[in-house]
């Protein structure tokens, strides 16, 4: 996969950096005991990722160094450095789903999207992520598609989901 600049990828899910908005998000959490995690969640929700420009603001608000802020941000799988694709797909990689064929399903999904786990497609349409257990293990294998969980996912069921998404996108364009 070739790396491109974020602004060359038109379908990424991101809001423009806005220091005033960022400050508004951070401020209430700065008064909360141990609020840095919540602030990071808040920033990612607003901007689609945790922008580098927010480290200074976080460091000030929580009385930490920039390095400490980055240390916390980078420890957790959820916090992104860059925007995600327009659609985010997570495929569970844990044992229960393995027992029901998640390895094969993962290969299928990677082929279909043309990207590996942890990557975003060149056009910014799709981000594919590994997830370790969605707590839906009685109906494995499981994926999430734009935050909605689907159980007992076969290759065929995944293809239908993709077709439905493509259909909705077409409808949107004609609207």
């Amino acid at each position: 996969m070739t790396k491109t600049h974020e602004h060359d990828r038109p379908h990424l899910e991101q809001a423009d950096w806005d220091p005033v908005e960022a400050q508004e998000i951070i401020a209430p959490f700065a008064r909360l005991k141990g609020g840095l995690m919540e602030a990071l969640h808040g920033l990612q929700q607003a901007f689609g990722y945790v922008p580098r420009q927010s480290y200074d603001l976080l460091a000030d608000a929580f009385n930490l160094s920039r390095a400490e802020v980055y240390g916390v941000k980078s420890f957790y799988h959820d916090f992104r450095d860059t925007p995600a694709g327009h659609h985010v797909i997570e495929v569970c990689q844990a044992e229960s789903c393995q027992a029901m064929g998640s390895r094969g399903l993962t290969t299928h999904v990677q082929k279909m999207l043309g990207i590996e786990l942890g990557e975003t497609s060149h056009d910014g349409h799709f981000t594919l992520k590994a997830v370790y257990c969605l707590g839906n293990c009685a109906v494995s294998p499981n994926i999430t598609f734009d935050g909605k969980m689907h159980g007992r996912v076969t290759e065929d069921k995944f293809d239908k989901l993709m077709q439905r998404t493509a259909g909705l996108a077409k409808k949107g364009e004609n609207a």
């Binding site: 141990g34 990071l40 799988h77 844990a94 229960s96 370790y132």
Partner: protein
């Protein structure tokens, strides 16, 4: 308009993942077209996950169940008169008579599936807050003693006696103490915490309030994994309702006692299920484990005495306070008292939640409740107790489900997750995954776990490629010994368990081509 008909369709994550919302929409649409007056109540899941979405109708005989309902089946169900319990291919008869459910010992999960998840009124009508009402009239030491006498042990997996932990916190002198609920249910094959939080959230809240009264803590936190967004929404709503009704806040139901709860979200880190890593994460830091001592009971959250308990440990407390210690203790075997929520997962025909007294043989759980593999092929391996649990072979399945019996067999009962694999599984690949998972999730604080996991994954790769197999197998064993003895916490300390059990029991899987390269 006809009489009002009542249906139950779960709002639980499994039901939603299998299309419950679409089914509700189809039911409402069909009812409107037929000029029928129906109301749909959103309950939690009964835990019969393989039947989701499980639709129930209230009839004069009781609640009748229809399993695996899809939107396409809805018109046919109406045609069959399912609103009055009519016969249909999806019909399962009376919910309460379904053998899977009927034969369980539902203590902690007594209300899951039965009640409207977010209705305080329904909760109270089914015994809710009775335990708390008794606790409000008791001295802290008496509450702690009752929990100790019940024999309850930590349901998160470590199985430490809950009452003893509480007693330490009660005895600690401090201006501020905390109750932290560990809702970071990260083990693959486990979902009991989630089912409880989604299906009976007030039960957890009640357990936490009782814990607060017992040890003199006024603040509680629920550390919830980010993979459970629906739990977050349900807990938020339940906390607001409970606060409005005076069960939380500065003066609980006029008792003069204070307790309140906040939900905090994790951010995708398995190791944050380890109690000290969780406390660091709650403090807004990297989720690194802490060396013990000091124990969290003495120096926990923000350096204060803290009770850290799993969701199910806390949710078991209300019934212990309401029915008494002896009632709870009369279930179980040996030193494993009460009930535990087993979760059947992986390649299993009837996956779901089974709350049972300790002592049932594993085989009975897998065959009797689970109905064997989903693929119909023979069982090859069963992993119990999450990703750090041992892989058990067919010959091990007569083990009784009991903490000590599992320990003696070098296995782990843990949080009660049971993941079944059929004979297509490659155990070398599973051993490799155990190391890979440790690479992915190690907090990095101690060397055996941080470096050992990477080297272990490399060694298994070499073995899979047939390179110096004997030497590399010996090296893996040696590495596992170092990780076992030298790691700070269970992440590095227990990763060897699945690896070594796979190597010991399925040696042929590690010698694919039988050729030394």
């Amino acid at each position: 308009m006809s009489d009002l008909m009542t249906l139950y369709v779960p709002l639980d994550s499994t039901a939603l993942a299998m299309g419950a919302d679409e089914v509700v929409l189809a039911i409402m649409t069909e009812a409107a077209a037929r000029h029928l007056d129906v109301e749909v109540i959103r309950n939690g899941s009964w835990g019969m996950s393989w039947l989701e979405p499980l639709v129930e109708v209230v009839t004069d005989k009781g609640r009748m169940a229809y399993g695996n309902v899809t939107p396409e089946e809805v018109p046919g169900l109406f045609d069959a008169g399912f609103l009055t319990g009519g016969e249909h291919a999806l019909g399962l008869g009376l919910t309460a008579e379904i053998e899977y459910l009927k034969s369980q010992d539902r203590l902690t999960f007594a209300r899951c599936g039965l009640i409207e998840a977010l209705s305080l009124e329904d909760y109270r009508a089914h015994g809710g807050f009775k335990g708390l009402e008794k606790a409000l009239k008791m001295l802290p030491q008496a509450i702690v003693d009752q929990v100790t006498a019940s024999g309850l042990r930590g349901r998160g997996g470590a199985a430490f006696p809950t009452g003893i932990k509480w007693n330490t916190v009660l005895g600690a002198e401090a201006d501020q103490k905390y109750i932290c609920c560990n809702a970071d249910e990260g083990d693959s094959g486990t979902f009991a915490d989630r089912i409880l939080m989604e299906g009976d959230p007030y039960c957890l809240i009640e357990g936490m309030i009782i814990a607060g009264l017992a040890v003199g803590a006024t603040e509680g936190y629920i550390y919830l994994r980010s993979e459970y967004p629906l739990c977050r929404d349900i807990l938020h709503e339940a906390l607001i309702e409970a606060r409005d009704a005076g069960w939380l806040g500065a003066d609980i139901r006029g008792s003069g006692k204070a307790f309140d709860i906040e939900v905090r979200m994790g951010a995708g880190s398995y190791v944050c299920g380890e109690e000290t890593a969780m406390l660091n994460s709650l403090e807004g830091k990297r989720g690194m484990v802490r060396a013990k001592p000091p124990l969290p009971a003495l120096e926990g959250l923000f350096g204060q005495p803290t009770v850290v308990n799993n969701v199910l440990s806390l949710a078991s407390v209300p019934i212990i306070m309401d029915q008494g210690a002896d009632f709870y203790k009369n279930y179980g075997m040996g030193r494993s008292r009460g009930t535990i929520a087993f979760q059947l997962a992986g390649n299993i025909a009837r996956g779901g939640l089974v709350e049972k007294a300790f002592g049932l043989p594993l085989r009975e759980m897998i065959d009797g409740y689970g109905g064997g593999t989903d693929s119909g092929r023979p069982i090859k391996a069963v992993q119990v107790g999450g990703p750090l649990g041992a892989y058990l072979a067919e010959g091990d399945l007569d083990l009784p489900l009991d903490y000590e019996a599992f320990s003696a067999a070098g296995a782990v009962l843990g949080h009660g997750g049971i993941v079944v694999f059929d004979d297509t599984v490659d155990m070398a690949a599973q051993a490799k995954f155990a190391f890979d998972f440790c690479v992915e999730e190690s907090c990095g604080k101690c060397t055996p776990c941080r470096i050992g996991s990477v080297r272990g994954a490399e060694l298994i790769e070499k073995i899979q490629a047939g390179q110096a197999v004997d030497d590399n197998l010996a090296l893996v064993k040696d590495l596992c010994d170092v990780m076992d003895s030298g790691s700070l916490c269970a992440m590095g300390g227990m990763t060897p368990i699945p690896v070594l059990s796979a190597m010991d029991k399925w040696p042929a899987d590690f010698r694919k081509d039988g050729v030394e390269k």
